[in-house]
Symmetry: C2
Subunit: 307 residues, 2 copies
């Protein structure tokens, strides 16, 4: 139990913020935690389940005296929040965020960070398909990566403190520059989400195969796509609008490759397909060895026993 | 415990055949089960782990006196096996299979089914990303669907027996005609697999993002694709080569839709993206309500507790 910040303020109380609260509590990382959410309903839920020591009725009240302020709202909503709280940040405080895109956050939030306040964008690579204040849990960040994206001139001590904070919540921490972050995430997250959304949309839209057939027979592979295609629509709309270039670049590469494999199917080039499918197995092995996924069949959904 | 067939022969001893053996044993569905696999190594493994009552050194020996013969080899290998065993099938026996494509199996195996033998193609929609004789387990088919694709003139009694057999292994059973089966599976299985293989291949092939980054940061969504992209390469090569038309049709629809969403990203049409992402959530809910997937966050990979 090592306290790192006296007071932490969470702006936005969805899956990530609520998981941060429970993880901070588990690790004893903060003296007190205040929270704010725009919707009255979310604030009521937070109060009911004991999420945050103080749930405030304005962002300005929540950030008062806070040593760390974390913006946990969709990327498209960050600029307005930053503008709102800017004049109320404590000198010496750190302002950070958990947005999935970093260049856009730097460009839109950065201008509102006053002199004497540290600005260190961050992105925990963790989440589930569930959203809202009740979806959070303390172990969400355990053994997941949190990427810190310090801007030029970041003070090393403030950076070290934020790193210790994320490590205290169970995460591994890497530093990365904003543009590389946005490209890496386009590959490991943004393009896969758009592809999953598309495949689910196509299945939903076919006349010749009914929705009920798609649902009944989904265990043949399709259902794996539906999990990430059930993620929060507002968050993901903002991700694609703010990481446009990198996402479109990766989708372009994806389409090129898909066309190549479609041609192999059309021409009956079995050797090419077999070689391709063999190569992709290695990446899965790497992910399991790195502790980033389970080796249990079917993600462990199925209880496995011979008898 | 209801015995349905006196003797069952499994040709091919991979994930599906081995799961069938353990499920038959669990349900007491067969008097004896013989098995054959082309590779000596697989036969040795089967003997070591007690898979099948008799592991035979030829398919001809395995099917001798069998009341039910199930072809559990990749779709592309079925014709040769059928030719091989054709003259050795017992009059009145049923020959079936577990292939993922049905029109092709009917066209290639059908001609080798002698008069007096029932031919009832089948397809259990179950599997994991693991393969081989040691990957099987008794509960693989529990609450999954198995599709029977009877050809014209199938005797009702033989069909009812095969239905009872699959139900005895835990499956729900539907009947479907071959062409509709191949289209439904193109949507729920074949196109999703090709898309997953492609996305994993793209990620593996980028110069500007290293494999090690892809692996470390895969929990942001990408890893969900890697499970099905780790499936057996031979089986999947054969699926695409034998269900070419339906797969290419669905991939065509997918690409059309993907381009439409890419254009929405490029033009900044947030409303369109939001509406699309909201719609796809409903399919996920349907799948969970139908008992075809878990509602636990992250497929239940993560242990969830607030403290």
């Amino acid at each position: 139990m090592t306290k790192i910040y006296d007071k932490v303020a969470l702006i936005g109380l969805g899956l990530i913020a609520s998981s941060m609260f429970w993880a901070m509590k588990r690790g004893g990382l903060a003296g007190t935690v205040s929270g704010y959410a725009r919707s009255q309903e979310t604030r009521d839920t937070a109060r009911k389940i004991g999420l945050c020591d103080h749930v405030c009725d304005s962002a300005i009240e929540a950030v008062k005296d806070a040593d760390l302020v974390v913006l946990c709202v969709p990327v498209g909503a960050m600029e307005a929040v930053a503008q709102d709280i800017s004049a109320h940040l404590k000198p010496g405080a750190t302002i950070s965020d958990v947005g999935s895109v970093k260049r856009s956050v730097i460009d839109t939030v950065g201008p509102f960070v006053p002199q004497g306040v540290h600005f260190i964008p961050a992105h925990p690579l963790a989440g589930t398909e569930h959203s809202g204040p009740e979806a959070g849990f303390a172990s969400l960040f355990d053994n997941r990566w949190s990427l810190l994206v310090p801007v030029e001139g970041t003070e090393p001590q403030a950076l070290a403190k934020l790193r210790a904070f994320w490590e205290g919540m169970g995460a591994n921490v890497d530093e990365m520059d904003a543009d590389h972050h946005d490209l890496v995430l386009a590959v490991t997250s943004h393009a896969p989400h758009l592809i999953a959304y598309t495949m689910v949309g196509v299945a939903d839209d076919l006349r010749r195969v009914t929705d009920s057939e798609v649902i009944k027979y989904s265990a043949a592979g399709f259902r794996d796509f539906t999990r990430i295609a059930a993620s929060d629509p507002t968050m993901w709309r903002d991700v694609f609008l703010t990481n446009k270039d990198a996402t479109l670049e990766i989708l372009g590469r994806f389409t090129e490759e898909l066309f190549d494999l479609q041609r192999a199917i059309r021409t009956g080039d079995g050797d090419k397909l077999h070689a391709y499918f063999t190569r992709t197995r290695a990446i899965r092995r790497g992910i399991i060895q790195a502790g980033q996924d389970t080796d249990a069949p079917d993600f462990g959904r199925t209880k496995v026993s011979r008898e």
